[in-house]
Every structure is written in C-alpha cells, then in structure tokens.
C-alpha cells in the first residue's frame, strides 16, 4: 500500500487515482505503508513545520529501505536547508535548495527532462520528454551522484541548468509535477508504483 502524505495543502485526488493507496496524515498509516509519496506545494519552512509530527516516521521508513517519492517541494524537503526560509529539511541528502537567479520566476510550464543516469522512475520515458513545472527554487545536491535528471531553464537571455530529479537507493525526488504531466507523468507514477 502507498501512503500519500497529506499536509492539508492542495488537492491530491489525482495522485491517489494514479497510484492507488491512501491519502493520510496519520503516522500509524504511514508506518504501515510499503511506499511513501510526499507531495508538496508552498513554503519550505511552513510545510516542514506541518511535517514535524511525521518526520521520524518518514525517516524510519526511508532508512528501512521503503521506496520514497518526493514531489516538487516534497523533493526539496529531502535536503538540509533552503534559501526560502529558516529551519532544517529532512536532511536525507546533503546540500541545499536555492532560488533561481537572473531568470523569470517562477519557472512555470512544460519543460524537458533529461536523465543523467539510470533511474527506474524514467523507464520507458524518452530523454527530453516534457513534464509540468511550477517552482521558484531548486535543489543543489552536494553529492552530484544523486542527480537523476536535469532540466534547462532559459529566460531573459539567461540559462540555468538544474537537477529536476534525484535518486539514490530507495529515495526518489522529482521537481516537476507528474500528476500534472499527462502520459509521461502517469508513466513515471506507474514506474514508482511497480517498484
């Protein structure tokens, strides 16, 4: 069973429809799940505060090797800290979250994702496929090995190449919204479901 962690922000109905499982904020249910999805929109610090009561449960699950998928802010929360607000993230990965500079923010719309290494999430998805993004910050991993895919954002004559997916062992994060990315997004969610 997949637990989709509900932090009371946004509508997760289509994530649930694509993945099955349950939408929950109950630590017991999260503990019982065999996979965890952490979707997220909003402010890094504010969401981390809401996540606080579930933090240990989620970290335990990750350490036990259960597949974990962080979506958008849910991916950023895997890192140590963010320029967006004070406070620590889940600190699963070393590195921080930084703001786009010199380009128009938010980065919003359909952009291409290019896998940087083998990653089971992207199985059957062509390199350069489009996914839907809405964000102003992106992750900056200390260990570049965790970068699973990159995306190139160009605006106002400037270009920023940023990690659009991370992956290590059982831990996955995507900056885009698979639940808004039509067929490619559904394929990616299906790949996660089948892990």
């Amino acid at each position: 069973m997949i637990a989709i962690v509900d932090l009371g922000i946004g509508n997760l109905a289509n994530v649930r429809k694509a993945l099955g499982g349950i939408i929950t904020s109950d630590s017991y249910e999260i503990e019982r799940a065999d996979k965890i999805v952490l979707p997220g929109v909003g402010n890094f610090g504010a969401v981390m505060k809401r996540l606080e009561p579930l933090k240990e449960t989620i970290l335990d699950a990750i350490n036990e090797g259960k597949p974990f998928l962080g979506i958008c802010l849910g991916m950023q929360l895997l890192f140590e800290w963010s320029e967006e607000s004070e406070g620590k993230g889940l600190e699963v990965f070393k590195g921080n979250v930084v703001k786009f500079r010199g380009v128009r923010v938010p980065h919003i719309g359909w952009n291409q994702v290019f896998p940087a290494k083998e990653c089971p999430l992207f199985e059957g998805i062509k390199s350069g496929s489009y996914f839907y993004f809405v964000h102003s910050y992106y992750v900056n991993p200390q260990d570049k090995e965790v970068i699973a895919a990159i995306t190139d954002y160009e605006s106002k004559g400037k270009e920023v190449v940023f990690p659009s997916a991370v992956y290590k062992d059982n831990i996955f994060g995507v900056q885009f919204h698979p639940e808004k990315s039509s067929k490619n997004g559904l394929k990616l969610l299906e790949n996660f479901r089948r892990l």
Binding site: N11, V134, G185
Partner: protein, 251 residues
C-alpha cells in the same frame, strides 16, 4: 527549453459545457470531464474553464466540478468567471484548480489582485484582459465584453503585473469569433509591455495563426472553436508548430 503552450477553453454553465461541441465518439458533449479528457488525450497543455453561471447560489456546482476535474485530469487547469473575492479564489484552488483567473473584479478592485497574489501565489493567478481598439488605444472591457472601462489595456497589463499577476490572458474583442487570426498588434504591444507570460486569445482559425502569435512572443495561445468543431485536432496543430521549429510538447 520551456514549451509554448496550447490551451483549450471550455465555457461552463451550471456544471455543463454550453457551446455545442462536435467531437466524434463523444457520448455526452455537455460533460466537461469527458471533453477535457479528450483534449488531454490529444495533447492539450492546459485547459481553461470559464464559468458563466449567472447566480452566485449555484457556484457550489462549480466547486464540485473543479473537484471532479482535479481527480480525473492530468494536465494543469485554470478556472474563472465571475470570481469576486479572495475567499472564492482560495476555495477554487483548494478544490484542485491549478490557477484562477480574474477579470471584472480586478478592474473594479485592483487591490484584489495583490491580495489574491499573496494568498494563492502569483504562479496561480491569471488576470484576463478583454480589449478592443477604440481608434486611439486598446480599451479594457469587462462584464463579458459588455462594458467599456476607458482604461488603456497596455497600462492595465503593466499595473496587474506590478500587483502580482503571474500571467495575462489577453482576449481581443476585435478578432474574437472571426477565426481570422489572433490580434497580433495588440498581443505584441502587451508582450513588450510586461515580463510575465501572455496568453493570446481570440481569433484562432488555423495553425498559422498560432505560429504568428508565438513568433511575436506569446507564451501560450488559447482557442475554443477551432478544436471544438474538429477543424483541427490539437495534435495536428502541434505537429505543424513543431515542424516550424516552435518548441512544443509532442508525445
């Protein structure tokens, strides 16, 4: 590279699509979900739902519809029409819409734009501008195009950007319904006046028209009848644009 977006618009009244849509193999041409799914299947990048339900009491039907769309559709969608308060905006976003758009209420009360931007974020806030050339300047119209406001659309576009709008949905009342092409001079003037993305709307009749709009810097182009009446499918349109070298999402 960010793709240029193709957006389909659906007019909704009391939870149903109002304009007759001549898709083949559609069981219920009035069902917004079925039509939206069909568009998604064809490769639409985004869907705009314009609610034209007159009575406020029936707005609950809209919220129920938004929830159903959010559950069934896997592309971003925008909801607007008659929204007058931050509370309504919050409710629509909470029900699962990705963005809301404001039109008349923003002109009546520009403060609503900055308040809404604070509550739901600029990324989720679209300001719709209906404009018509009056011989001297492009004039802003509200109330579904019935009321001239004496405001210069270019100045208004700059103002809403300053107030926190994330995007401008620009409809030319001069070209709307003509199928003779988007209003290129108006669209170009607005694109050059603001930094935020501009969605061209009104007048699409052929794939060339979309190409013209993208060439002058529109980030997205919206159409209704060209798709509804099956003149061109979204896929045919996108294949044409890709061939012309426009960055476009083709699956």
């Amino acid at each position: 590279m960010l793709a240029k977006r193709i957006i389909a618009a659906l007019d909704i009244k009391e939870g149903r699509v109002v304009k007759g849509i001549k898709f083949q193999n559609i069981r219920d041409a009035g069902d917004p979900i079925e039509l939206a799914k069909r568009y998604e299947e064809e490769g639409i990048d985004e869907i705009v739902f314009l609610d034209i339900t007159a009575s406020y009491e029936k707005r609950k039907i809209l919220l129920d519809l938004v929830k159903r769309i959010a559950e069934e559709i896997y592309v971003p969608f925008t909801v607007g029409g008659g929204i007058r308060s931050v509370e309504e905006i919050r409710e629509i976003i909470k029900s699962g819409a990705d963005k809301v758009f404001l039109n008349t209420a923003a002109v009546d009360n520009p403060k609503l734009v900055s308040e809404a931007a604070k509550v739901v974020g600029s990324a989720n806030l679209v300001i719709a501008i209906d404009a018509k050339w009056n011989g001297k300047f492009w004039e802003v119209y509200t109330h579904g195009g019935r009321k001239a406001r004496g405001i210069d659309a270019i100045e208004w576009a700059k103002e809403v950007e300053r107030l926190g709008a994330g995007e401008i949905l620009l409809t030319s009342m001069d070209t709307d319904g003509t199928q003779q092409g988007f209003d290129i001079p108006l669209t170009k003037a607005i694109v050059e006046a603001v930094d935020i993305p501009v969605i061209a709307s009104g007048g699409a009749g052929s794939p060339e028209h979309f190409y013209e709009a993208f060439k002058i810097g529109a980030e997205a182009a919206l159409a209704a009848s060209i798709f509804h009446y099956g003149k061109y499918t979204v896929r045919e349109l996108k294949e044409y644009l890709a061939k012309k070298g426009v960055p476009i999402r083709l699956e």
